[in-house]
């Protein structure tokens, strides 16, 4: 027999829009600032670094492209980048999908806490993730001390760190949708004679596939462009494209190779985003969703309790233990547990010249930069989201994809591009502090847009019409109707942008001035130097960074709306 397909309730084609010239003009006006922002601070720096790499005496040297791509060493890097991303994605899905199910369908004490805990890693700076796993798996790490096992020289450390980092992406994207699927659809299938598994496979799974695909693509994207984690855990053996670009640029000063690699990564990411955008759109269009609050229930029977137990165990091992080890290490000084490393952070002198200033000042720098970056990201991203609210038009779709590109473009390229392109009047920002927040805002904007967009789109267009009929001008209607409804989403978006800005590493490492490092930069610098003292301080600083991020996140959990957005 043929089972009922999931109920498809296309959104009522909210009466075709007139799309008059005025509306188009408004939308272009809203897009102007975001477009200018991306043009000047993203496209221009990236283009100029690619241009500098591939141009010689004003001549394009496209032969370099072929040379670099056929270089066996680069081939090796490409291959490693791709397969580690695929493996990380597979492993993340395998471990996180049961977690998504448990959080979506079961009701149990501590559920909110669990959801917050699994999200902490995602907003942690990659540098901290790297150092947490170093503390767990590395030389003198917990496993080394207990059983003499070291994984930091193997690819497992990288894969596990990637799972740790991306667990929340899958749980939130898939689980968020799962919780909103109407359980009665499965019940309908059961009544029609489908077994438990058959009902899930024929009704729930098809509804989830787009979300799973979207989550998988996100994870693939993040791991494909992974930098901080590999920089710390990869050692000399493993390098992703991003790491290679960094080395070619910063250490070997081989700009042409870096430029070609940037282009390769750019092309790969653009292709991935194209696929991602398609799946996301399909998901939005075809599902009949219910309030997530009403779909969860207590686990029943031994099997369900076992499932819950094993998910909790995985979270404990994979998420809690690394974080705990990191914290422990930071207190485990040369003279037993204490605050030695934290005290050392307070002075510049004891660092053997690593820092011009006390590392602790990095906290103040990070917060100041983060606040500025958040402001920029919220303004730019908010305008972009407002322009994208109505989903019709090819122009809009192109813009949508464009906004996601900074997430996948080599942050190293962006950072270095800032240095070489924004150094002449009228845009001589090389010595300006604003350079760092600008680069950080680039990665913040996609998060702002992704968080705001579903909420803005969920605002019923007829509410605006009701306001218009009652005499509100379009601007007034937006202020009176949209703004109060999206206020919470705006707060959440700001929080995300802040966390992401705090953790930004690839671009910041280039442009932060030596006398004002951010937290991740300071951590990386400490890790890059030998000695117990430096290592301990790196752990202490990571702990502080983690706390700052965790606080931001917990504040988010409180205001977060039920709509999960796309992260």
């Amino acid at each position: 027999m043929v089972l009922a397909r999931p109920e498809v309730a296309p959104r009522d084609a909210a009466a075709p829009q007139g799309g008059g010239p005025r509306r188009t003009a408004t939308r272009l006006g809203l897009m102007a600032l975001p477009l200018a922002f991306f043009g000047v601070f993203f496209a221009y720096p990236v283009a100029s670094i690619v241009g500098r790499g591939l141009k010689d005496d004003g001549q394009w040297q496209f032969a370099r492209v072929g040379e670099v791509i056929t270089d066996p060493r680069i081939g090796h890097v490409l291959w490693f980048t791709t397969w580690q991303a695929a493996a990380s994605t597979g492993l993340t899905l395998l471990l996180a999908l049961p977690g998504a199910y448990v959080l979506a369908r079961f009701d149990f004490p501590g559920k909110r806490l669990l959801r917050a805990v699994v999200t902490v890693p995602f907003v942690l700076p990659t540098v901290v993730v790297g150092s947490a796993f170093l503390a767990l798996l590395g030389h003198g790490g917990l496993l080394d001390e207990l059983w003499g096992v070291r994984l930091d020289t193997t690819v497992w450390a990288i894969l596990l760190a990637h799972v740790f980092f991306n667990y929340a992406v899958v749980v939130r994207t898939v689980g968020g949708l799962w919780a909103q699927l109407d359980p009665r659809q499965e019940e309908a299938a059961r009544v029609l004679g489908a077994g438990r598994f058959a009902a899930w496979r024929r009704v729930t799974l098809p509804a989830l596939v787009p979300a799973i695909a979207a989550a998988a693509l996100m994870v693939f994207l993040f791991t494909f462009t992974s930098f901080g984690v590999i920089q710390i855990l990869g050692g000399p053996r493993y390098a992703t494209l991003e790491v290679e670009i960094y080395q070619q640029t910063a250490q070997l000063l081989d700009l042409p190779t870096a430029a070609v690699l940037t282009l390769v990564q750019f092309a790969a990411v653009a292709a991935l985003l194209g696929v991602h955008a398609r799946t996301v759109r399909r998901r939005e269009a075809t599902l009949h969703l219910v309030d997530a609050a009403g779909t969860a229930r207590r686990p029943r029977g031994a099997a369900e309790w076992t499932l819950l137990g094993s998910v909790l165990a995985v979270v404990a091992l994979l998420v809690v233990v690394p974080l705990l080890v990191l914290v422990l290490r930071s207190f485990d000084g040369p003279d037993g547990y204490g605050l030695t490393y934290y005290r050392a952070l307070a002075s510049a002198g004891e660092n053997g010249g690593t820092f011009v200033v006390a590392p602790l000042e990095a906290i103040g720098n990070s917060l100041a930069y983060g606040l500025a970056a958040t402001t920029i990201a919220v303004v730019v991203g908010g305008l972009a989201a407002a322009a994208l609210t109505r989903r019709e038009g090819r122009l809009v779709r192109g813009f949508d994809a464009l906004l996601m590109l900074p997430l996948g473009t080599s942050a190293v390229t962006v950072g270095f591009g800032f240095l070489i392109s924004l150094d002449e009047p009228p845009l001589d920002l090389r010595t300006s502090w604003i350079l760092v927040p600008l680069a950080q805002a680039l990665v913040g904007v996609p998060f702002v847009v992704r968080t705001m967009l579903p909420v803005l789109r969920a605002v019923d267009a007829r509410l605006r019409e009701a306001a218009a009929v009652l005499g509100a001008s379009p601007l007034r209607a937006w202020r009176e109707v949209d703004l109060p409804l999206v206020g919470r989403a705006l707060a959440v978006a700001a929080g995300f942008a802040f966390a992401v800005s705090l953790g930004e590493f690839g671009a910041t490492v280039f442009i932060a001035r030596p006398d004002s490092p951010t937290l991740p930069v300071a951590v990386a610098r400490l890790l890059g130097r030998p000695g117990e003292m430096n290592y301990g301080q790196a752990m202490a600083l990571s702990t502080i960074l983690m706390l700052v991020c965790a606080v931001a996140l917990l504040v988010l959990e409180r205001v977060r709306t039920d709509r999960t957005g796309e992260f």
Partner: protein, 320 residues
């Protein structure tokens, strides 16, 4: 007050409104009646300026509204599903239109209180709209639409989501209210009972065109076409050939009033106009079924000769 001249709205190939002419006089209550998809809601949206007409003109008080945006048209629209602002309380919703016009605060508060009294929800200012029942939401939506004193009030299925008894009571209340306030009203509904009870004039629509317009009594007594008759709930409509004072139908030869149009046409037989008599008298037929409809029962009578089931004659056959 309101005049539509040859207004056409197309969604792709399909014309939702096809050269519609319509007029609503000052203080008049006009009800547009039609099945779903006949273009009723589109009509209201065009008048409100939420939708642009592809051709034709919309005039309010003699002025062409083509260049006037929605918020300056001074019309009120009560949406089918109310569209109350969820983040505001009842008072905030009702006061919205007054605030947009910059009415002073004290005056606004007074008006809100007055309107809530009027719709039977005194003192409900601070209640949250989410906590209201369907009927209460409807009343708040009405108060909100009335508050800015629109020169034309439009109602989209005003009583659509209410249960029958509440609906019947509210229709009477609304008509009395509009009469007292002198409001000009353009309402759309698919419920003929509602339209007849509310309106001074009824406009029946079909596929984006006006099928018939007139007072409720005119429309009820002389449906202009088979479509209108069937939409009003008459089922005894069959093809007929009229000659003199009798008509040839599938049921046999039937008498028609003098002056009836001659030749081929459609004949409507009102159920009340047929009596069941013992076999052998009148037209021979068989009682094929009987449906209880409250006060009276309806008998479906068929003639063996009638080739189509839909030509079964519905007859009112009393309580027994």
């Amino acid at each position: 007050m309101l005049r539509l001249e040859e207004v056409t709205v197309r969604f792709g190939e399909r014309a939702a409104l096809d050269a519609v002419d319509l007029e609503v006089a000052e203080h008049e209550i006009v009800c547009v009646l039609g099945p779903s998809g006949s273009g009723k809601s589109t009509l209201l949206r065009v008048v409100a300026g939420l939708l642009r007409a592809d051709a034709g003109r919309v005039l309010l008080a003699g002025r062409d509204q083509a260049q006037v945006p929605t918020h300056r048209r001074g019309v009120g629209l009560m949406f089918q599903d109310h569209q109350l602002f969820p983040q505001r309380d009842v008072g905030g919703n009702v006061a919205f239109g007054l605030r947009m016009r910059g009415t002073a605060r004290a005056e606004t508060e007074r008006r809100v209180g007055e309107l809530l009294d009027l719709v039977g929800l005194p003192g409900a200012e601070k209640r949250l709209v989410g906590a209201l029942s369907g009927g209460e939401q409807q009343r708040v939506a009405l108060a909100r639409a009335l508050a800015p004193e629109p020169r034309l009030l439009m109602l989209d299925e005003p009583l659509g989501q209410l249960d029958r008894s509440l609906r019947e009571r509210l229709v009477v209340e609304l008509r009395a209210l509009f009469g007292r306030l002198g409001t000009t009203v353009l309402a759309v509904t698919h419920d003929q009972g509602e339209a007849f009870a509310l309106a001074d004039r009824v406009v029946v629509m079909r596929d984006g065109r006006v099928a018939q317009a007139g007072t409720p009594l005119e429309v009820w007594q002389r449906p202009a076409s088979e479509f209108v008759a069937r939409f009003l709930g008459f089922e005894n409509v069959v093809p007929a050939t009229v000659r003199g004072t009798s008509a040839e139908t599938v049921w046999g030869r039937l008498p028609v009033p003098a002056g009836a149009r001659q030749g081929e046409g459609c004949l409507l037989v009102r159920p009340a106009g047929v009596r069941l008599v013992p076999a052998g008298e009148g037209l021979p037929c068989t009682v094929a079924g009987r449906t209880f409809r409250g006060i009276t029962s309806w008998c479906g009578c068929g003639r063996r000769a009638a080739p189509r089931r839909s030509w079964r004659l519905r007859v009112r056959c009393g309580g027994s």
